[in-house]
């Protein structure tokens, strides 16, 4: 397989509403930032991959056609990716695969959402009444996790505070809650017991783009080498399905680690951006990604290990809890992992970060996408 690297990362300032820009204007903000970061222009791009949440979110059918000229894709291959909330991650993986397979030299991955122009509850309920929304779907899974791990209730509050504090260090993050505190989180309204309002992700408008190229293209640039990229799925419901440790998640993590040569993820991964739309997903996903022993994920959170400066920093960007342009959220995780190993994460940089995991999941916890990036092709010697 041809080595591929992220050499450019761009994103918008994520906000509740971006009424000043069209869809095209929004994605172009992220694209030009990524191209500038890569010291490239649209002419250097050989193919474009676009991801966003299902069309019902904004009511644009085939946005890949509508946006092809805005993305400079006229006369070039253009692809659309569809994997619900994990789509941003899968978009990065599809773009990487074109380079790794030798089909294209330099590929632009773009993902976006303009949640303000539709309604997520409507879309998640397929346009019918009594939509559960994402929180309603995941609350039972979280109850199951809390029950079996015995985690105390303050763990969810701690994650919410930590990710919002990280967001204060990220100029692009949507939520900036200066006075965030345990007290504030625990006194916020209960939305979907046991999930409180401040333990939940916002609705955001935003976009993210990354430029992926081969070894020659990476020369003279700052690469985040893609050591492994994997996606897995499973049906939404079947007897014996465990949404706390979904099989698709376990096998995806196992595969991506194997590709990357990772045998001891807890030691070999310096930071991870996990898709945490509700605070309790942090300890749950630590365990389902083998970053903690089963039942111990919450102990890492409780000990402060998942803070910037801790032994296993998680979501240094502020995560989905701080910015959630759904279609872009997965690519933002992948992009933050790349920024970290490129040493380009600014105030939320983890010192000495050489290897990072980016992860996204979607639908009823049934699509998983992950990549491992590193500052060299042989980070483990």
């Amino acid at each position: 397989m041809i080595p591929a690297a992220v050499v450019g990362v761009g994103q918008t300032h994520h906000k509740t509403r971006r009424r000043d820009v069209s869809f095209g204007g929004l994605v172009r903000e992220a694209v030009f930032r990524a191209l500038d970061d890569a010291q490239m222009t649209m002419a250097d791009i050989d193919a474009v991959v676009l991801g966003k949440a299902p069309d019902l979110f904004e009511g644009v059918m085939k946005p890949e056609l509508y946006l092809s000229d805005a993305l400079g894709a006229v006369g070039k291959p253009m692809f659309r990716v569809h994997t619900a909330g994990s789509v941003g991650g899968t978009t990065g993986i599809v773009a990487a695969s074109h380079v790794q397979g030798g089909k294209h030299k330099t590929v632009l991955a773009v993902a976006f959402e303009k949640q303000s122009e539709g309604n997520a509850q409507f879309a998640l309920g397929s346009g019918k009444g009594a939509s559960l929304g994402a929180g309603g779907s995941f609350a039972p899974f979280i109850r199951s996790y809390i029950h079996r791990s015995g985690a105390p209730e303050h763990i969810g509050w701690k994650v919410a505070v930590k990710d919002r504090q990280n967001a204060l260090k990220n100029p692009y993050a949507h939520l900036k809650i200066e006075d965030i505190s345990i007290e504030k989180v625990k006194s916020s309204p209960m939305m979907w017991e046991p999930i409180r309002f401040l333990e939940s992700c916002p609705s955001s408008d935003g976009a993210c783009a990354v430029v992926i190229t081969d070894e020659e293209g990476a020369r003279g640039r700052t690469p985040a080498w893609i050591l492994g990229a994997s996606s897995r799925s499973e049906p939404p419901a079947f007897p014996g399905r465990d949404p706390v440790r979904p099989l698709a998640c376990l096998t995806c993590a196992t595969d991506v680690y194997q590709q990357a040569g990772i045998t001891r993820p807890r030691e070999q991964i310096d930071m991870a951006e996990l898709y945490v739309p509700f605070s309790w997903h942090e300890p749950m996903w630590l365990e389902a990604h083998f970053l903690a022993e089963e039942g111990d994920g919450w102990k890492l959170t409780d000990a402060g290990d998942t803070e910037i400066g801790g032994s296993m920093p998680i979501n240094c960007s502020g995560g989905v809890l701080s910015s959630n342009p759904i279609g872009a959220s997965g690519l933002l995780r992948f992009a933050e992992a790349a920024l970290q190993v490129r040493g380009a994460a600014g105030e939320h940089q983890v010192d000495g970060c050489r290897t990072a995991l980016g992860m996204a999941y979607g639908a009823n916890s049934q699509y998983f996408s992950m990549w491992v990036v590193a500052d060299s092709l042989q980070p483990f010697g």
């Binding site: 000229d69 559960l132 309603g136």
Partner: protein
């Protein structure tokens, strides 16, 4: 013979137009049509970027038209309600005077014989203009713009947003298993399907075993008990959106049927206040009164047919630490 059900969903989306299309829409309310310079060319309707290279365009907007020339056209003999005119008309590429690219719009002509490539057309403006492409009701043969009814003048503020009412009607096939489940529920029977592969029992008309991909039919039917235990639950505070049916917090529960491995997902509860919903509560099926039945097949969870939900049956709660994990 596969049966189909028809559904329609609608949603009032909004669109932020951005600086260039916003200016174009604002000008339409003033009965002016704008294009944007791209080198020697004038693109109309205007775009923010060069459509062939993606390069940003200088914001050099110029007025074009109002009359123009038909480059090409097609006749619409039977307009639907989604078409701009309620009588037969032509869709045409109209190259407005001064523009290099054509604008797609309707031409109100009496018949296809009145249409030709190269013919001259002019806009017929709506009297009330809101900043939408349909502020031009259509084009009409000739050189002179027209206005429908009283001219109510331009928009008071620059147009930045557009409403977009999306509507789609689609037909879904109903799996035979769904009809079997709904028919049984009419007789207040709860039936499931046992997969001959994995031996698991499935409730609701999802049609196939998700593990073995066996398509369910009458031969897989099993009768199920009408009592069970709540394994997990969620209480939703409803957000209002078009099509929302709920106004108060409502519960959805997972019910493990007695003597079965079947869990019914996302079930409504009846006569069980949301604060009393808990793991281990014993419940019984509640059947619809005449007129309350639905045709829902329960393929994606939820109530179905004449089963409208579950209510506490007074039995002592079940204390089983593994119950909460039985979500599926």
């Amino acid at each position: 013979m596969v049966r189909f059900t028809e559904s329609t969903i609608t949603f009032p989306y909004t669109r932020s137009l951005g600086p260039v299309v916003g200016a174009f829409m604002t000008a339409l309310t003033e009965k002016r049509i704008l294009g944007i310079r791209n080198g020697e060319q004038v693109i109309c309707p205007p775009m923010e970027w060069d459509p062939s290279t993606g390069a940003e365009l200088p914001r050099d907007l110029v007025e074009v038209g109002p009359a123009g020339t038909v480059d090409s056209w097609t006749w619409v003999p039977e307009p639907t309600e989604q078409h701009p005119l309620d009588r037969p008309f032509a869709f045409a590429f109209v190259r407005l005077d001064g523009a290099s690219t054509p604008l797609l719009h309707a031409v109100d002509a009496s018949s296809p014989d009145a249409m030709s490539d190269g013919m001259r057309v002019a806009p017929r403006w709506k009297g009330q203009r809101i900043g939408h492409l349909t502020d031009i009701a259509c084009f009409v043969p000739g050189e002179e713009p027209q206005v429908d009814g009283d001219d109510l003048g331009p928009a008071a503020e620059p147009v930045q947003m557009m409403d977009y009412l999306a509507r789609i009607t689609y037909r879904n096939p109903v799996p035979p298993s769904s009809d079997l489940v709904v028919d049984a529920s009419r007789q207040h029977r709860l039936v499931g399907f046992r997969c001959p592969g994995c031996g698991k029992t499935y409730v609701g008309g999802r049609g196939v075993c998700p593990i073995d991909s066996v398509e369910f039919g009458e031969e897989h039917l099993v009768e199920l008990p009408h009592t069970g235990t709540i394994t997990n639950h969620v209480v939703i505070t409803p957000v209002q959106y078009p099509g929302q049916t709920e106004t108060e917090p409502f519960a959805r529960v997972f019910v493990l049927l007695d003597g079965s491995d079947a869990v019914l997902g996302y079930q409504p509860v009846i006569e069980l206040p949301v604060e009393d919903v808990a793991v281990g509560v014993r419940v019984s099926a509640v059947w619809a009164s005449p007129g309350e039945e639905s045709d829902e097949g329960g393929g994606m969870g939820g109530a179905f047919g004449s089963l409208i939900g579950w209510m506490p049956n007074g039995e002592p709660p079940v204390d089983d630490p593994d119950l909460v994990n039985r979500i599926f």
